[in-house]
């Protein structure tokens, strides 16, 4: 059973926009797509890409602002010729509230 933590309202993120959640284990980018799907991914692929919350969104993908790598928002996989994957976290929207998996932001879990 996954525990979820409320991080704010869906309206805090505009459509095709993204915001950052600061967590001790590292920043997480939270995306809201044009069709109101929400995704949570690591903000950086260290040494390769990021900060992804600054990218341009199209369909269910985001283009990295630094080197134009394209990542699938659902799987975190780099698309095309680039190889790499950023971590993804459970996130959902219920009654307009954004709920992220507690594991993503919980320091005690991160310490394990």
């Amino acid at each position: 059973m996954t525990d979820f933590i409320d991080i704010g309202s869906i309206n805090d993120i505009p459509r095709r926009g993204a915001r950052v959640v600061r967590a001790l284990r590292g920043d997480i980018a939270v995306f809201r797509t044009a069709t109101d799907n929400v995704y949570a991914l690591d903000e950086y692929l260290p040494g390769k890409a990021g900060p992804l919350s600054n990218g341009i969104q199209h369909d269910e993908k985001v283009t990295d602002p630094m080197y134009n790598w394209v990542f699938d928002l659902a799987t975190g996989e780099a698309q095309g010729a680039d190889e790499g994957k950023v971590g993804t976290y459970d996130i959902k929207c219920e009654d307009g509230r954004l709920l992220i998996s507690a594991v993503a932001v919980n320091p005690s879990v991160a310490a394990e």
Binding site: G17, R22, T35, I56, P65, T75
Partner: protein, 816 residues
Amino acid sequence: MTQKLIIIGAGMAAGRALEHLFEAAPDAYDVTLFNAEPRGTYNRIMLSPVLSGDKSFDEIVTHTAEWYEENGVTTRFGEKVAKIDRIAQTVTSDIGDVLPYDKLIIATGSNPFIIPLPGHDLDGVIAYRDLEDTNAMIALGEVPNAKAVVIGGGLLGLEAAAGLALRGVDVTVVHIMGHLMERQLDEAAGYLLRKALVDKGITVRCSANSKEILGENGKVKALLLDDGTELPCDLLVMAVGIRPSIALAAEAGLATGRGIHVDDQMVTSDPNILSLGECVEHNGDVFGLVAPIYDQARVIAKTLVGEDAAFVNNEVATKLKVTGCDLFSAGDFAEGEGREDIVYRDPAQGVYKRLVIEDNRIVGAVMYGDTVDGNWFFGLIKDKEDISEMRDTLIFGPAFQGGSPLDPMAAVAALPDDTEICGCNGISKAQIVAAINDGAHTLDDVKAISKAGSSCGSCLGLVGDLLGVTLGNEFKMPEKELVCKCTDLSHDDVRKLIIAKELKSIPQAMQELDWKTTCGCHVCRPALNYYMVAAWPGEYEDDGKSRFINERVHANIQKDGTYSVVPRMLGGITTPDELRAIADAADKFDVPTVKVTGGQRIDLLGVKKEDLPAIWYDLGKAGMISGQAYAKGLRTVKTCVGSEHCRFGTQDSTGLGIKIENAMWGAWSPHKFKLAVSGCPRNCAEATCKDLGIICVDSGYQILVGGAAGLDLRETDLLVQVATEEEAIEVSCAFYQLYREGAQYLHRPYKWIAKVGLDWVKEQVADDLENRKALAERFHYSQKFYQIDPWAERAIQGKDAHEFAPIADFTKVAAE
């Protein structure tokens, strides 16, 4: 023994439930039916045809008072139930009658949601729910020059607007979201729907927030939006959604959530009370569509006669229709993991079709303009049919049996005959087609005969398409560089078609130009956004989500995710006060690096993103604005000290540089644009490698263009020499505008000049004085809308605040 059954609410759910009950056991219950509306049961869905005048009210009645009488139902129409006493098993009506029950059905349906705006209780503010509302709208149609505002661009709101418009009312739809019916339609279909409504004379305002309803003598007068716009109206219809009507049940102590909780047998938390319809909540779902509610009616009737039955909420696809609009939406069209799109567009016919495929099955379909195959797709969605065998031709519908592939030149074929294709020579589509029909079968022939494409050449892509359309297979198109994989058009084609077809939004351009993806990619979106900015100053609403991060947050992202901040210093001139403010800001925000740039500015490197608005605020207080060092737009005007200080200076190069920068800052262009003004040919400002450089000489000013000092190194060419400062400024603005209007996105001027030819640029800017003036005027007009300091907007007015701050911070929480 006959039991007493009381039903509260005579809507469609109750009507259908009684039909089933009387079929199964006509004499099992002695039924009393309350209805707050003073009439029998009618099909609420059909109020729209009543409003539009296609049907009379009598035609939509499903169960009349007589029908109830024949079936032995005691009706109490126009009478509400005020209270339920579950211990005594009685209900009390609003006139004080107390009636006992053995079984009670709550079928109170739903209430329209009224936004609690100031003024929502004024006379003339209505919902769109019942016959009274409908009649109020019909009555308004009788009033000459009547105006109405509908809040809500969903199905119900648009039905109200369409009906009012048909009755001659001047209607404005105010919708909070960016496009109409955003729950059922994607952006492209929403755009086409909007276009159809506008054609019907309905005004549509999306992304509009209502602030207050204004009234006069207790009656509605206008709707005030939060941008200050007042929309005068005689009637205001609020159609923003419905809420299950649960107050009566909740007061009686029944379990409720969003709706009244019921189990699979439609029984509430009290075994003698049942409920169905829009007022119930079953396994977390509430209901607004008629199909599952009719299923509930069947189940509730069986439960009442003691038979086994269980309600299962089959999440079937839904389809919908707006009066007079050829629109279809079924299933789930949201994008998601493992989902793929098949998109078909026919810009000439205004057709858009999109199928969403998951695991070889259609899960959603959106169509506009041609919906004849809608029911076929609907069937495939419902039956979860495997479509992998027919995937390639699926979108053409069931009738398709092979045939030719899509015509990529449909957008060009659809242009009206009088569309100007070659702007340089004023040649229309009809003239080019005539030339082709007269025997011009190559691009060179067309150039020679019609003159189209013989000047700057940027229309040759379209001329080629016209050759293709006119000659068919005889003509072989030269390869052209496409914008990206989302389209078959080149940058030049897109720019020209945006003007020719007056395309003023990105979804509109994608539809009309036959884009192959639903919402483009990181290559075409920024290009389209720029082309719109350049083509429609003051009309186009900039789409920040189509800009790269630097232009979105007005600072340059650095490799560690921090930003650099460069304030503008016109002509490279600063003051002690400005320098003090910069130094203070650098201290206050712990700026690790302060650097002087190549463009004679000061760069504060390493600013944290969340500090940007605050540092801008401090710099702004000292009078500084954004240096736009991040923009595909005007960057810097570098100057030498000129005749004011230098013994070699021939003119006031610093003063001219400041004047030019003052005129040009804030402008967007296909790529960055850098200038320099040198006071003499010694050229201390290095003007000969800029996009535009000016070298002052004794007799005036040499305007040089097309330099580069990056990956490519290129010296400028002389565009023209002029005698006065005024002319130098006019030529500079005219050249910039010509580049802004013509070049492809991400081409610096030297690349663009290589394509169109320096001679052509000279003709436009140096030789043709009328044209020079017109170009400069268009530039100044555009500047009225873009010469706004983006830092002040964000630091003072709080624009785009979401861009800068994290949504949540767990590092601080954890530290506590």
